[in-house]
C-alpha cells in the first residue's frame, strides 16, 4: 500500500506491504524487510540485521510523533493542495509572501510599518517565547503590504504576522 507523508514538513512517498503476514517497506531504490513487533500502541520493535530498535509513536490529532534511536519526527498526511506553513512560504498569493512566526510566542516588537520598503533578511519583528527573543526577517526584498498583528499579541505558527509584496 502506498503512503504519502510529510515528515518534519517535507513530503515523502513510501510503500508498505503486509504480504502474507509480513512487512515490506520500499521508498524509491531502498527496499526494506524488517521483523516488526508491536509491544504497545505506543511502542514498536523493528528488527533487521539482527539488531532490534525500539520505536515510540503517539498521535495528537492528525499528527503522528515518532521517536527512533533518540531522534524525533513529526509525520502528517498532506491535505490535498496545501502544505505545512513554513517561514516566508509562498502562500498562493502571486508575488507576495505571508510571514509567519516559526514558533508560538508573543510579539514584543514590530520593526517596520505598513507601506515601508524592506530588504531581504531585514528585521521585521521580534517574537518572544520561553524568555527567548527571535527576530523575524523578511523573506525577500519588497514592501510591507499589511501587518496582521500588534505588539503584545500572542501568535501561533499558523497566523501570518504580515504580508510582504515582492518587488523583485
Amino acid at each position: 500500500m502506498d503512503f504519502e507523508f510529510l515528515i518534519d514538513g517535507s513530503p515523502r512517498r513510501i510503500s508498505l506491504e503486509n504480504r502474507d503476514g509480513a512487512v515490506y517497506f520500499r521508498e524509491g531504490e531502498v527496499a526494506v524487510e524488517a521483523e516488526v513487533r508491536r509491544i504497545s500502541s505506543a511502542e514498536l520493535l523493528f528488527t533487521f540485521g539482527g539488531r532490534t530498535s525500539r520505536i515510540h509513536l503517539a498521535r495528537d490529532g492528525e499528527r503522528a510523533f515518532v521517536s527512533v534511536a533518540g531522534r524525533e519526527f513529526v509525520i502528517t498526511e498532506p491535505l490535498p493542495g496545501t502544505r505545512g506553513p513554513l517561514e516566508g512560504d509562498e502562500a498562493g498569493v502571486q508575488g507576495s509572501f505571508l510571514v509567519k512566526s516559526p514558533m508560538p510566542g508573543r510579539v514584543i516588537k514590530l520593526s517596520v510599518g505598513e507601506g515601508q520598503p524592506v530588504r531581504k533578511n531585514q528585521a521585521l519583528a521580534i517574537v518572544e517565547a520561553m524568555k527567548m527573543e527571535n527576530e523575524i526577517q523578511s523573506p525577500a526584498e519588497g514592501i510591507v503590504k499589511k501587518i496582521h498583528v500588534s505588539v503584545g499579541e500572542f501568535v501561533d505558527s499558523e497566523k501570518p504576522l504580515m504580508e510582504i509584496e515582492s518587488t523583485k
Binding site: 524487510e33 524488517a34 515518532v66 534511536a69 509525520i75 510566542g105 520561553m130 524568555k131
Partner: protein, 508 residues
C-alpha cells in the same frame, strides 16, 4: 529545624526541593501561576497557593504575593530555587524584614555578588584575577562604544543581574553594538526585572569551569570541587560534567582555594558557585558568583555524596556546617544533560506544547530530575527546561556510555527537545576526548539533523507511521492511553533484513 517551607519556584527544581523537604520531615507549600494549575510540583506539595496569572512578573516574580503566600501558609522559610527571585537582594531583604528565612545568601551578600560589576570590583580588591571590562553599567551608547574600542572587539554584552546566558550577546564590530545592547536590556528586563547591562572583553574558546561552595552562617566555608560547563548553546549551559578533564590536581586545588577566598571576600553564606573562565593557556579568570542552587548541582551531589539542598536547608536553619574540606572527595564521574523544550534542528527555537508521550530513562546510576507529566502542556511563558538527565559511573567513558543509552531511552513526544541532539554530543569523538570549549557546539554542530543515521531514522519513522496505520489494534489513535496489553492484536511479523546502513543508528 523548619516545620514548613514555601517553594517559590516551579518545574523540576520545585519538585527537587519538595522531595528533600519530605525526606527531612518538613511540610511544603507550593506556589503556582494560572498556567501551572496542573503542574507536577502543585500536586506533590502539602499545600499549593495560586499567586497570579501566567506572566512571571505577575506571579513567580511578584515578591509581595509570594511573601503573602508564605504568611498565609505559615511557612517559616522560603526556598527560591534558581532563576526568578533566587538572586534578588531586595527579595532576600524583604524576607528578612518579614521574619521569613530566605534559604540562600543574606541580602547583603546578594547585593555584592548578585551585581556582576560590584562583584568584579570586590574580587579585584581581593586579588582574584578577573576579565577586563567596563567598571560600571551604563545607559549611554557613547560610553558603550568607547568601552568597546578600549577593550577591543570582540566584546560581550552582559546583564548586570544576569545568569543563564540571559541578556548576553557577542559583538564583533561597532555596527552590532547598539542593537545588541538594546536586545540585552529587553531580555534582562523580562528575565530579572532589571535591565542594566555592561561590556566585557570576550575570551575566545574558553572552558567554563565553576566551583561549588557551601558556607554556613558561622564563618565556615568549604568547596565541593568543580563542574565543567563548557558545552553551551546560545551562551547557555546544556551539558555539564565533573570532574573536569582540564584540571590536574594542582590547578584543581588552586582554583578551589580561590573560590573559597572569593566567597570569603564577599561575606557569602549558604550554597553558591564561583564561575571561572579557563583560557587556552590554563589561566583562569573570575567570571561571576551564582548566588543560588544551580541547575547542574546534581553532578556535584553524585560525585561528592553530599545532598546540596539538604545542606542549604540545614545552613539556613542556623546549623553549623557538618563537612570539613578534608572529608570531601570526588568519586567517579557524573554528567548532566539538560532536556529543553527546544528544536535543535531550528537553531534551538522554543518548542512549547503538549507532551503526548513521556518515557523517562532509568537504571543504575541514572537520575532524572523532571518537572513534567505526560499529557501536560508545556507553557510558553517560562524557561524551556523540562528535565535534567544525570548519570554517574566509575569513570568518564563509562559515564558517557551510560548517558548515551539513557538519552536513547528518554522519549518525549509532541514537542521538540534537546535529547536526541545531546545524544550525538556525548557520542562525538571530540567530546569523548575531553576537548570541550564554549565553542564546541557552534563548531561541531553548526548543522545538526543530517547524516546517514538521521536518514535511516527518518526512514524507519516513515515505516513505523505506515505500519501503525495498517495494524493499529483500536480505532482510537495511538495516544499513550492504550496500555502495554493492548498490542496483542498484532502477531509477530517476521522477515529478512534492513540494509546494513541501518546499523549506523546504533554506533555508540
Amino acid at each position: 529545624m523548619f516545620r514548613k517551607i514555601l517553594i517559590a519556584n516551579r518545574g523540576e527544581i520545585a519538585v527537587r526541593v519538595i522531595k528533600a523537604c519530605r525526606e527531612m520531615g518538613i511540610r511544603t507549600a507550593a506556589v503556582y501561576s494560572e498556567a501551572d494549575a496542573r503542574s507536577l510540583h502543585v500536586g506533590l506539595a502539602d499545600e499549593a497557593v495560586l499567586i497570579g496569572p501566567a506572566p512571571a512578573v505577575d506571579s513567580y516574580l511578584s515578591m509581595g504575593r509570594i511573601v503573602e503566600a508564605a504568611r498565609r501558609t505559615g511557612a517559616e522559610a522560603i526556598h527560591p530555587g534558581y532563576g526568578f527571585l533566587a538572586e534578588n537582594a531586595d527579595f532576600a531583604a524583604l524576607c528578612e524584614e518579614e521574619g521569613i528565612v530566605f534559604i540562600g545568601p543574606s541580602s547583603a551578600a546578594l547585593a555584592i555578588v548578585g551585581d556582576k560589576v560590584r562583584a568584579r570590583q570586590t574580587m579585584e580588591e581581593a586579588g582574584i584575577p578577573t576579565i577586563p571590562g567596563m567598571k560600571s553599567v551604563s545607559r549611554s551608547p557613547e560610553e558603550f562604544r568607547a568601552a568597546a574600542r578600549s577593550l577591543g572587539f570582540p566584546v560581550m554584552v552582559k546583564a548586570s543581574a544576569g545568569g543563564g546566558g540571559k541578556g548576553m550577546r557577542i559583538v564583533r564590530d561597532d555596527g552590532g553594538l547598539v542593537p545588541a545592547v538594546e536586545a540585552g536590556r529587553r531580555e534582562a528586563k523580562s528575565a530579572f526585572g532589571d535591565d542594566s547591562v555592561y561590556l566585557e572583553k570576550y575570551i575566545e574558546e574558553p572552558r567554563h569551569v565553576e566551583f561549588q561552595v557551601l558556607a554556613d552562617n558561622h564563618g565556615a566555608i568549604v568547596h565541593l570541587f568543580e563542574r565543567e560547563c563548557s558545552i553551551q548553546r546560545r551562551h547557555q549551559k546544556i551539558l555539564e560534567e565533573t570532574p573536569s578533564t582540564a584540571l590536574e590536581p594542582g590547578l584543581r586545588s588552586k582554583m578551589g582555594e580561590t573560590a573559597v577566598k572569593a566567597m570569603r571576600a564577599a561575606g557569602y553564606n549558604n550554597a553558591g558557585t564561583v564561575e571561572f573562565l579557563l583560557d587556552r593557556d590554563r589561566r583562569f579568570y573570575f567570571l561571576e558568583v551564582n548566588a543560588r542552587l544551580q541547575v547542574e548541582h546534581p553532578i556535584t551531589e553524585l560525585v561528592t555524596g553530599v545532598d546540596l539542598v539538604r545542606q542549604q536547608i540545614q545552613i539556613a536553619s542556623g546549623g553549623k556546617l557538618s563537612l570539613n574540606q578534608g572529608d570531601i572527595s570526588q568519586r567517579g564521574h557524573a554528567i548532566e544533560c539538560r532536556i529543553y523544550a527546544e528544536d535543535p534542528k531550528a537553531n534551538f527555537l522554543p518548542s512549547p506544547g503538549r507532551i503526548v508521550l513521556l518515557r523517562e530513562p532509568k537504571g543504575p546510576g541514572v537520575r532524572f530530575d523532571s518537572g513534567v507529566l505526560e499529557g501536560w502542556d508545556v507553557p510558553v511563558h517560562y524557561d524551556p527546561i523540562l528535565a535534567k538527565l544525570i548519570v554517574w559511573a566509575e569513570d568518564r567513558e563509562a559515564a558517557c556510555r551510560r548517558m548515551s543509552v539513557a538519552l536513547d531511552d528518554c522519549v518525549i513526544l509532541g514537542i521538540h527537545t534537546t535529547a536526541g541532539f545531546l545524544g550525538d554530543v556525548v557520542k562525538h569523538p571530540e567530546f569523548r576526548a575531553g576537548r570541550t570549549t564554549t565553542s564546541f557546539i557552534p563548531k561541531q554542530f553548526s548543522s545538526w539533523g543530517t547524516g546517514a543515521g538521521e536518514e535511516d531514522a527518518r526512514r524507519m519513522a516513515l515505516a513505523a507511521a505506515a505500519f501503525d496505520l495498517l495494524t493499529r489494534p483500536t480505532g482510537r489513535a495511538g495516544t499513550p492511553e492504550t496500555g502495554p496489553t493492548k498490542g496483542t492484536a498484532t502477531p509477530w511479523t517476521t522477515l529478512g533484513r534492513w540494509r546494513a546502513g541501518g546499523d549506523d543508528l546504533y554506533g555508540l
